[in-house]
């Protein structure tokens, strides 16, 4: 009995112990402890306790042993200084991404392992098992494959290849002079060609600047684009650096209120600014996967363009006659790209190779000042817009403004916008907006390209010449006084606008007062008492209309001018005694204390009632307080020379019978 019990116990013991032995034999792991350790020192899951015994310990959990061999923590366990000190590269940004699932722009080769979840590991690129080949002498970092001229990078980053054709920065091209700044910062050049540009010329896997791990920063607050500028030295304009202060698009500045930087481009990519919000090369450019493949831009330049995404105020140039894509004009941009390809802006503006301020693409005519040179570089005989050469301008230009320009731009001698500058074509014209549009053609919207053009005819003039705006609604407003009237260009008031009936900036008959209305004689025969002055243009400007055959025939004065209007006695009095701001006019139309008494001495043709700075109310018959008479005329002028008697002379000066017959009340009772 005992013997049976003994054998049963022996059998039981053998059965109990058998599973352990069977497990050990089945896994076939190295049993020599040190050999196992050499693998398991990184392959944590292969530690005997986990792999064979499948158990946890109080200080190590079995479930935490999975998938750790290539993780950051495992690598850091030696690269924390205890074997090598790679703390900064492993732990601190910027470093090559790990722990994230690769984007669709990356193609991971089959022999580059990912985590169980498909995420990048340190061991995706690195492995202690692959010895270096003889061809790799530049780096010894246990890469999974040899890295010859960045060949390792492009194993995964395949979509960053192909150069401009694929919207990527060219690779494997030579640069003339490898920038010392890049080499000093750790950038490398390839060896297949002299100074060959490779991935690692600009990027480094660990370290560098930004999330792209660039060898030099592109968004640093003090050195925004130095990586780009290290090679592309002659392109950007840095306002504070005279050496690079070229006629190129500025960088390193914050965009002002005239531009609107979008949040993102059409691709959805966020617009890049420097850390301080300044423009950098990467604001417009993208070195990989660029939308525009010729210039590596974030938007297609040939369409409506990257420029107008920010410069929205200029967007109305699209589909205008200044949008040379429509006219298919053979004119090429300075970078030898046809207008149809360079986009709406590239024909006139060369972003990096301008020849004048505003990144002006064209050579300014040597004879022209910059005040009109920009326009004449196209709108001149022999130039691309020779069919649209404007008539000569009579408006003062290249001079300081004598009036408040109310925000219209002025330009200094360097053609830069300045509040203390001078009047130029661009003061009145906005070449980016055809308004007011006069016609819509196949070659775009035609128009006058006037600033404030949307405000209607005359709005631009009124901006500077506000006091002259009171002419509207008066008998001098041709749109109500004589709609059939035609100015010197044959344009009716509705076409010429409020001011254009008499004044023409381009195509004036007389330069004086940009006169575009009829010019009369010095002494109309209708005058009862013919004054015979020396020729004074100020008389003939009025008599052009106010004569028997003119549109002002109903208001031809019987007595033309003040007696002795041009005698020196008058001037002497005016000069020595009056010392007042009285309009005495020289023969050429200028005002001078030594000038003569002409129509405009007493009349302001732009204001119906001298005492009321307001527009007219229609075609009312004039009185002695209206009739375009200057305010306080009797007190300021007549009575000084003529005493109180002047009131009667004043009253009956032009048309005594009418005034007598009408028995108008004399307005100056205290002087009567």
């Amino acid at each position: 009995m005992l013997r049976i019990a003994y054998y049963l116990l022996m059998l039981l013991s053998i059965l109990i112990c058998t599973p352990c032995a069977a497990t050990e034999q089945s896994v076939n792991v190295p049993r020599e402890s040190d050999t196992a350790k050499k693998c398991a020192i990184c392959h944590y899951r292969w530690v005997y306790t986990f792999f064979v015994e499948h158990k946890s310990t109080p200080i190590a959990r079995l479930e935490e042993s999975k998938d750790t061999v290539g993780e950051t923590k495992m690598c850091l366990s030696c690269h924390d200084g205890s074997v090598r000190d790679s703390r900064n590269k492993i732990c601190n940004t910027p470093s090559h991404k790990s722990g994230v699932i690769p984007s669709d722009r990356v193609t991971i080769p089959p022999n580059f392992p990912l985590s169980d979840k498909g995420a990048l590991l340190c061991s995706t690129c690195h492995t202690p098992h692959s010895g270096l080949t003889a061809g790799e002498s530049l780096v010894t970092t246990f890469k999974r494959e040899p890295n010859i001229n960045s060949s390792f990078c492009i194993r995964c980053h395949t979509k960053n290849l192909g150069g401009l054709a694929q919207g990527n920065h060219p690779l494997n091209v030579s640069v003339d002079h490898p920038p010392e700044a890049i080499i000093k910062a750790g950038g490398r050049f390839g060896t297949d060609k002299p100074n060959e540009v490779i991935c690692e010329t600009c990027h480094m896997a660990h370290g560098g600047a930004g999330d792209k791990r660039l060898v030099l920063p592109v968004r640093d607050s003090h050195a925004q684009s130095i990586l780009c500028e290290a090679c592309h030295t002659k392109k950007p304009k840095k306002p504070n650096d005279p050496e690079t202060n070229r006629y190129a698009h500025p960088v390193d500045i914050r965009p002002d209120s005239s531009v609107q930087i979008p949040e993102a481009w059409s691709s959805g990519e966020k617009v890049v600014l420097s850390v301080q919000g300044e423009l950098v090369c990467f604001t417009c450019h993208r070195t990989h996967n660029a939308a525009d493949k010729d210039f590596l831009l974030n938007e297609q330049a040939g369409e409506d363009g990257l420029c107008v995404r920010c410069h929205k105020n200029q967007s109305k140039v699209l589909q205008s006659t200044h949008d040379l894509r429509l006219s298919q004009h053979p004119q090429k941009s300075p970078i030898d790209v046809p207008s149809a390809r360079s986009g709406p802006c590239g024909t006139c503006h060369a972003v990096h190779t301008g020849k004048a301020p505003f990144m002006w693409a064209r050579q300014l005519p040597s004879a022209a000042t910059c005040f009109e040179g920009y326009c004449k570089s196209c709108h001149a005989p022999g130039q691309c817009a020779e069919k649209a050469v404007p008539r000569n301008s009579a408006h003062p230009a290249a001079k300081a403004a004598s009036v408040n320009t109310a925000g219209l731009p002025l330009f200094n001698d360097s053609c830069e916008e300045s509040s203390q500058g001078k009047v130029a074509c661009m003061t009145c014209h906005n070449v980016h907006n055809p308004s007011p549009v006069t016609a819509v053609t196949e070659t775009g919207k035609k128009g006058q390209y006037l600033r404030l053009g949307e405000g209607g005819q005359g709005a631009l003039c009124q901006s500077c010449h506000a006091d002259q705006n009171f002419i509207k609604g008066t008998p001098h407003d041709m749109s109500i006084a004589s709609p059939g009237y035609r100015n010197a260009l044959g344009k009716a008031p509705a076409q010429s606008g409020l001011c254009g009936s008499c004044h023409l900036v381009h195509g004036a008959i007389l330069k004086e007062y940009m006169w575009g209305a009829p010019v009369g004689t010095d002494v109309p025969k209708e005058w009862l008492k013919a004054e015979k002055p020396s020729r004074n243009i100020m008389v003939s400007l009025c008599t052009g209309c106010h004569e028997k055959e003119g549109i002002g025939a109903k208001h031809v004065p019987r007595f033309g001018l003040h007696p002795g209007a041009f005698y020196s006695r008058v001037s002497e009095i005016a000069n020595k005694r009056l010392k007042l701001n009285i309009c005495l006019f020289t023969p050429s139309g200028g005002t001078s204390p030594m000038g003569g008494i002409v129509c405009s001495t007493c009349h302001n043709p732009h204001q119906w009632d001298g005492k009321k700075k307001e527009r007219g109310t229609g075609l009312a018959e004039g009185t002695i307080t209206t009739s375009f008479l200057r305010p306080d005329l009797p007190q300021l002028f007549c009575t000084i020379c003529h005493g109180t008697e002047a009131m009667f002379k004043y009253l009956y000066f032009h048309n005594r019978p009418a005034r007598v017959e009408k028995k108008e009340q004399f307005p100056f009772g205290d002087l009567q």
Binding site: Y6, M10, C17, Y44, T49, K55, I59, D80, V83, C91
Partner: protein
């Protein structure tokens, strides 16, 4: 009689079988409970080591930032010294730090191949160049320890697998211990070092996953720990410190635990919380224990220092 003789081996066999089955599923161990007091964070970038100076001032070696940051006994920031460079008082990726009884601070200025000595206030006092022997790699001093009773300074030369001995006060190198290897008196990437109450020298031998113990004369006394992930074993031993009772604390940066050994290398327990659960850190590296029974743990990846009070009683876990 014969039946009794046959029964005894049978019983022994059964007991042995049961032990074999139960082995590995039962771990009786002791937890040294620690009460969390506070954490120190001060813009650290992978800090590596810590030492407690005079008046319990806390000096944290913030090596990636190339500076030492000093805190008072309550963990309040006081000052920092050091910037990246090669001049006096400047650092290049230092890794180890120690202090002496006078409060002087010793920094293993690793990639400048030297040890720099500072006053408790951070004023530079002296530099000791760590020169490797001819034919060896440039020296790679990763830690330093002072034994004033023996008038010796010990410097770990990580890349050359040595412990270098300097005499005090002249800081003249007088000996070099160990060669590369995994045998007795051999080291594979020694990292941190500490001196015991009895002047024993404890060298964390990282790749050999052990602590090698030396007499101050350079004779090997023995080793502590070994390869593995169980109690009493190491996977990545890193930090080491000795408490006033001559207990040896060793951190394992991968397992995230701190184990306690006696002077003979026997496991005493593992640091846990007040409930008796094993405390785990992300990457515990440099550690220190002060005379108040406070345990300081540098958690490298977490970029912080955790401060605990060691509670005297121990908790036995089945």
């Amino acid at each position: 009689m014969r039946s009794r003789a046959a029964t005894l081996p049978a019983v022994l066999l059964i007991v042995a079988g049961l032990i074999a089955v139960l082995h590995g599923t039962l771990h009786a161990y002791t937890v040294y409970p620690a009460k969390h007091l506070y954490d120190i964070t001060k813009d650290f970038l992978q800090p590596s080591d810590i030492t407690i100076g005079k008046d319990h001032q806390i000096y944290v070696l913030d090596g990636v930032n190339n500076c030492v940051k000093c805190f008072d006994a309550q963990g309040r920031y006081l000052f920092a010294f050091g910037v990246k460079g090669t001049q006096k008082g400047e650092f290049n990726s230092p890794l180890g730090i120690a202090s002496d009884k006078a409060g002087r601070i010793y920094v293993a200025d690793t990639q400048n191949h030297r040890v720099q000595i500072f006053t408790p206030g951070g004023e530079w006092l002296q530099s000791v160049d760590v020169v490797s022997a001819k034919g060896e790699k440039p020296s790679d001093p990763t830690d330093v320890a002072i034994d004033e009773s023996k008038q010796q300074m010990y410097v770990v030369d990580n890349d050359n697998h040595h412990v270098l001995v300097f005499s005090l006060p002249g800081y003249k190198q007088i000996a070099s211990w160990a060669t590369e290897g995994d045998q007795r008196n051999q080291l594979q990437y020694p990292f941190f070092i500490a001196v015991g109450i009895d002047s024993s020298v404890f060298v964390v031998d990282v790749i050999n996953t052990r602590v090698q113990v030396y007499k101050p004369t350079g004779d090997v006394v023995g080793t502590i720990g070994g390869w593995g992930v169980d109690l009493g074993q190491f996977y990545r031993p890193k930090g080491i410190c000795i408490d006033p009772d001559n207990q040896i604390f060793v951190s394992d940066s991968y397992l995230g635990a701190i184990q306690v050994f006696n002077r003979y290398g026997n496991l005493k327990g593992v640091i846990g919380d007040e409930k008796g659960d094993v405390l785990k850190w992300k990457t515990p590296v440099g550690i220190a224990v002060d005379d108040r029974g406070r345990l300081y743990v540098v958690d490298m990846i977490a970029n912080q220092v955790n401060v605990y009070e060691l509670i005297g009683k121990k908790i036995n876990k089945p």
